[in-house]
């Protein structure tokens, strides 16, 4: 075969590149359509259920879909709820990218809340440091606690779903024990800690904008920083490369010389540190103290957020805001239209089912690609 002349060769390349770029745009569009489709289908299913159980289904659904924007204080609730969800979503996405099904965000969140509150209560700190020191302490604690299931997975090959759920249970009980026995002030008949000092409270948006924005606070700034930090970590550092290669093909990563055990362990731990920030937000921004059941299952809601964002840190804020919108809308619906917030859980379940089904499709597709690749060899 005669070598094709250089010019046509490069022309062919440019052409090929254009084709691929087009294909890629098409791919992202399909992804977007699929995600939006998932949401629409879930909302439709939710509506059908509402029709079946509700007395005023239209009003109920209107409350769900427009409620969070109807009053300023609801807007505040939404922002505050989304803040935690986005942090948990980011936490989950890190381990997910290494194909580790880390369910430990709930535990890390509690550890973060506890650590931040204890430091804030017992270490006298000037302003600003009053925020930064408890925050860093909480991150360190979240990191260390998540290191345990990470180590167990990496070095003992313990199933991470089981180990993280077990550790969550231990932490939840420990949290309760410490709160009731050591942190509840004498004479207080509610089981909760003392109020944190003002220097350790995130400034409220309500005070800044002089509007009734509920408990939404400046932790939003922290969220922005964390989103960018996680994005840089995953896309632009060697550690992120290691995580992504392990997720793509663990055997390949080992063969290439990546210390896969260490990386898997650290992926859990870093996720733990990020989830702990969510706990800090609850303790120092939303409640200004520790209360029983402070997490309210938020640790698990973050999984949906990460899945909807396909583990892309830059998309997590969007899916976090969306998902939180549904949660707040569900609350409003429950209060105004006597339809239970369970509807939101139905919608959530449908979303999870559809996303899981997409994972199945993707799994099948990858396997088919692999087979095709094998056939090509």
């Amino acid at each position: 075969m005669v070598d094709t002349p250089a010019i046509t060769n490069s022309e062919a390349r440019v052409h090929e590149r254009m084709r691929i770029r087009k294909e890629r745009v098409r791919g992202s569009l399909i992804d977007l359509v699929v995600t939006l489709g998932t949401i629409v289908i879930a909302l439709v299913v939710g509506f059908i259920v509402t029709l079946a159980v509700g007395k005023q289904p239209i009003a109920a659904y209107t409350a769900l879909l427009t409620g969070p924007l109807s009053q300023v204080n609801r807007l505040g609730n939404w922002l505050q709820d989304a803040t935690t969800l986005i942090l948990i979503g980011l936490s989950v996405s890190i381990a997910f990218q290494a194909r580790q099904f880390n369910l430990g965000a709930e535990g890390s969140l509690l550890v973060g809340a506890m650590t931040a509150a204890v430091v804030a209560l017992y270490v006298p700190l000037p302003p600003i440091l009053g925020i930064i020191v408890p925050l860093l302490a909480a991150m360190a604690a979240g990191f260390l606690v998540a290191l345990i299931p990470g180590w167990m997975k990496a070095y003992l090959n313990a199933n991470e779903i089981v180990s993280t759920l077990m550790i969550n249970a231990i932490i939840a009980n420990l949290y309760q024990y410490l709160l009731i026995n050591f942190l509840t002030p004498e004479g207080d008949n509610v089981r909760r800690s003392a109020l944190l000092p003002a220097t350790s409270a995130f400034p409220l948006l309500a005070d800044i904008f002089n509007a009734n924005l509920g408990r939404a606070n400046l932790a939003i700034v922290v969220v922005l920083i964390v989103v960018i930090a996680v994005w840089i970590l995953m896309r632009h550092t060697s550690f992120g490369y290691e995580i992504r290669m392990i997720g793509a093909n663990e055997k390949f990563a080992q063969y290439g010389g990546i210390n896969t055990k260490r990386v898997v362990m650290l992926a859990f731990a870093i996720g733990g540190a990020v989830a702990a920030i969510g706990g800090v937000h609850l303790a120092m921004g939303v409640h200004n103290r520790l209360i029983l059941g402070i997490s309210a299952g938020l640790g698990f809601e973050g999984i949906v957020v990460a899945m909807l964002a396909r583990n892309n840190p830059l998309l997590v804020p969007i899916t976090g805001l969306f998902y939180s919108y549904l949660r707040i809308g569900g609350d409003i619906m429950e209060r105004t239209a006597s339809v239970g917030a369970e509807i939101v859980q139905v919608i959530q379940a449908v979303i999870i089912l559809l996303i899981t089904a997409q994972f199945v499709i993707e799994y099948v597709r990858t396997r088919r690609n692999r087979r095709a690749a094998e056939a090509k060899l």
Binding site: M1, R13, V14, E16, R17, I20, H236, T237, S238, F239, G240, Y241, E242, R244, M245, A248, N249, K251, F252, A253, Q254, Y255, G256, G257, I258, N259, T366, R368, N369, R370, A372, A373, E374, A375, K376, L377
Partner: protein, 508 residues
Amino acid sequence: MRDIIKIYPNGVRANREVHFGIRSGEIHALVGENGAGKSTLMKILYGVERPSSGSIFLRGKSVHINSEHEAIALGIGMVFQNFMLVPSFTIAQNVVLGSEPMRGMLLDQRAAVKITNNLARQYGLVVDPTAIVDSVPVGMRQRVEILKALYRGADILILDEPTAVLTPQETRELFAAIRQLVNAGKTIIFISHKLREVMEISDRVSVMRDGQMVGTLHTSDATESRLAKMMVGREVFLQLDKPTKERGVAMLQVRHLEYVNEAGREVVRGVSFNTYSGEILGIAGVEGNGQTELVEVLTGLRKPVAGTVSLGDHSITGLSASAVRLSGVAHIPEDRLTNGVALNASIDENLIVDRYNKPPFSRAGFVSHGAVVKHGEKMIDQYAIRAPDGTLPVGSLSGGNMQKVVVARELSANPKLLIAAQPTRGVDIGATEFMHQQLLKQRNEGVAVLLVSADLAEVMSLSDRLAVMHNGRIVAIITDVRNVSEEEVGLFMLGVKQQTQAEIEANW
């Protein structure tokens, strides 16, 4: 078979208007590169796949073959590459499986043995009917497959790459059996890409390329290079240009290396050898004799239980995979789809897995996107990887190009020692040629090359010295590779012959 067209649901056109005819009583070889459509054509004939269009005539009559059962009823049998035997059954039980001689409700064991013995004698296919399949060698299992097809009344027997798993001795036995089958009036279709064997055994040969039939010719009119040209569509250099080269220092020194696998079996047992700079040391052996584990121990993917490995003056015994790589070892792995690439990651990402944390790719923990892209472009150019740019996932490349990604990464690391495991397994002629040239180029540039291959012809043509592994041990090191016959190496591979310890040590 006329005008056979097969389009798979995913749009791949595996057969495009293929004509294929065989005469009764001939040995007809079907050759072509992987993906040329040979297997698809034969699966259509055997009823496993149905053609999108086209027709099949058998003894002058048009037939529709919708299933394997119908193919068998028409007297067509096929022996696949992966044997389909029940490992825990005896050979006789396997032969009669599907239409068993019965005594009441039970299988008539004695009749089964008798049937097997009679068939075996009639066609000269020696088997032990009462042996359990699991315990007999590969060559015998293959004969069981053939007997099974014969028992079901096959007149046309399709053999799919039958020699791929055999030693030279077993291949010779198979060929004798094939000739006896033809003398008994059977017709054989012999699928292969080993041209030498095709030249030896077949009466006529058909060549396929890109789903089309390029042509059919009498084997007596064909030459290996003519067939290769028909298969690839261009001139192919089968003869390797291998200049003599003075070997350098003992770059790799392995001494008394032992490895015990997860199941507690000793798979590498006291292996010692050297690999010198500027030489290719071949390691021959039937697959599964410890070669895979040896390579993985040498590259740091497994930890040895005893023995030492040194590279130059440094011990690399038991170091991690990345430390071994850092000391100058490159590794073209055996199973390239499992270990050598991440299919969903981009070409660029695949090219840096061994150096993402070293300059210029990494600065203070950050990966320099620019350096990665530039490296990708350079590799795509230098190794002629057919891709517009490095952002493409490796999984979308052809097999040969995936191979090039692995080779590009490993060779661009400028290794002192290159370990290549089964580098051309499952790879077509064009890619094989490329791989052989690259290995020789490395050797000529003074790299120590350790070539592990089950393809005897390959190791014998490339290697300067040849070590043979059997049952976890090195049983022979041959320095005069040119003057040793494949049969003799085969005897070492089977463990029939063995050099003395002194002879081996003299050639370390």
